[in-house]
């Protein structure tokens, strides 16, 4: 045990940090792009506050297409673009590019779903008070769906985490990379198990933190 940690301990720690870095950065950017896209999908729907069937079906189609490309294919496919953005095709930053591209439409759907839960009566009430569409989006839709958005965040972050492990196959770094190189290619089972255990711990932590946050944020739980 001690020998194992002497050899692989610092590498495991480094890979864990790399994985966390990738997950956090990719989650941040996919929300930066995914929230506006999710809002757009939601409000342009039939009966939405800015109903536009044409926009909605085009945006929906793009989202569906990107989501249907298997991630491992997408990752290879965007390598030229990745080089253009980060100047390299390996390492965590390069891994983040396909991650963000794949996660943005996913996040958009998760956000869209949360926004669907907002009571239509409430949106109409805001309209009756003279709210602009922008005010309805920021002050009613996003505010009222906050607990649901936070729960959605846990789903997105965990999905991005597991995808970040896949980027290890093309040398993006992180726990996935380590599992492939040591566990798979060199048959060192103990490394493989260690990375899996670390990934499990990260997943459990994300879920736990988001649940706690969502509960605290939901004012309907006050009594």
């Amino acid at each position: 045990m001690e020998a194992f940690f002497n050899v692989y301990g610092s590498l495991l720690l480094y890979s864990t940090l790399e994985t966390l870095y990738m997950t956090i950065v990719a989650t941040f950017f996919s929300y930066l792009f995914g929230v506006p896209l999710g809002v757009a999908l939601s409000i342009t729907k039939k009966g939405g506050i800015a109903s536009s069937p044409t926009f909605n079906s085009i945006a929906g189609w793009v989202v569906n297409v990107v989501r249907s490309v298997p991630f491992i294919i997408l990752m290879v496919f965007v390598i030229p673009f990745t080089r253009l953005v980060t100047g390299t095709s390996i390492g965590p930053n390069a891994g983040n590019v396909p991650l963000i591209i794949a996660a943005t439409p996913f996040v958009a759907r998760i956000v869209e779903q949360s926004l669907e839960e907002v009571d239509r009566g409430l949106i109409e009430a805001a309209k009756c008070m003279g709210a602009t569409n922008f005010q309805i989006i920021t002050k009613v839709m996003l505010k009222e769906s906050r607990p649901s958005l936070i729960r959605g965040l846990s789903i997105s972050a965990i999905t991005i985490l597991s995808y970040s492990a896949i980027t290890g196959t093309v040398g993006a770094g992180g726990l996935g990379d380590m599992a492939i190189r040591f566990g798979y290619q060199q048959y060192i089972d103990s490394v493989m198990y260690s990375t899996v255990i670390l990934l499990i711990i990260i997943v459990v932590l994300i879920q736990w933190l988001c649940n706690l946050w969502a509960f605290k944020a939901d004012k309907r739980n006050r009594n």
């Binding site: 009571d119 009756c128 003279g130």
Partner: protein, 247 residues
């Protein structure tokens, strides 16, 4: 003053067009409490949705003050909306915001200055007798208290009229009485015109000085509450009254 002229609305249904509102005419004087009563499907909700312009009527005019709100552009309409407060059956409060924030909401979106909002929120909460609940969230309040928040919110922009959609239909008998007497009090104190759309005869009897009975999308009877109920002419009014007596 509120005046509705020749308001009509049709919907497309599977078997052709359905007239949801047929030539509705209505004139309110300042300080009136006007009841619009009818059974389910009579056109009450459509009328409310047309007056609030959540639904565009096919024809007619709706005057609030001197303006026909149907002729306003988007921007003018948004600012004109402040002249009419709406109270909903299921309150429609922001569940993630405090009572104070809920009441402040119409003023915030209208861009009123912060200190003015703060002062007015306190006044309004006192008016609806829940001054001590400012920092509570709606989930922590009873139905009657929530409706008081909704009323305070509807009054925030000093509207000329308060439009209430089944304001007491989700409340128990005692709370109904309290909310109705609050509406009456507001009407007397602020001289706010109030329209109450309801299926509850008792609510109309309790506070409305005028009433219109709606059936199949048109008013079948209209006048001072006492006269209409003392001498009902249409069968639907008699039925509404009869139901009330049988209880």
């Amino acid at each position: 003053m509120i005046k509705i002229e020749n308001l009509s609305k049709e919907f497309n249904a599977n078997h052709g067009k359905v007239k949801a509102l047929d030539n509705i005419n209505l004139e309110l004087n300042n300080g009136d409490i006007f009841g619009i009563i009818g059974m389910s499907g009579a056109g009450k909700s459509t009328l409310l949705r047309c007056i609030t312009l959540l639904e565009r009527p096919d024809s007619g005019s709706i005057y609030i003050g001197d303006n026909d709100i149907l002729k306003l552009n988007e921007k003018e309409l948004r600012s004109a909306r402040g002249k009419m407060g709406v109270v909903f059956q299921n309150y429609n409060l922001l569940m993630q915001e405090t009572v104070a924030k809920n009441v402040a909401f119409p003023m915030e979106i209208a861009g009123r200055p912060k200190n003015e909002i703060k002062q007015r929120v306190a006044e309004l909460l006192d008016l609806v007798q829940i001054g001590d609940k400012a920092s509570f969230y709606p989930a922590q309040l009873s139905g009657g208290q929530r409706q008081r928040v909704a009323i305070a919110r509807a009054l925030a922009t000093e509207p000329e009229a308060l439009l209430c959609d089944e304001p007491t239909s989700a409340l128990d008998v005692l709370t109904t009485k309290q909310v109705l007497s609050l509406l009456k009090e507001i009407n007397e104190k602020l001289n706010t015109t109030i329209i109450i759309i309801t299926h509850e005869m008792s609510a109309v009897k309790a506070i409305c000085n005028k009433v219109a009975v709606i059936n199949d999308g048109s008013f079948v009877e209209m006048g001072h509450t006492k006269e209409v109920f003392a001498n009902p002419k249409s069968s639907i009014t008699k039925m509404l009254l009869g139901e009330d007596f049988r209880m």
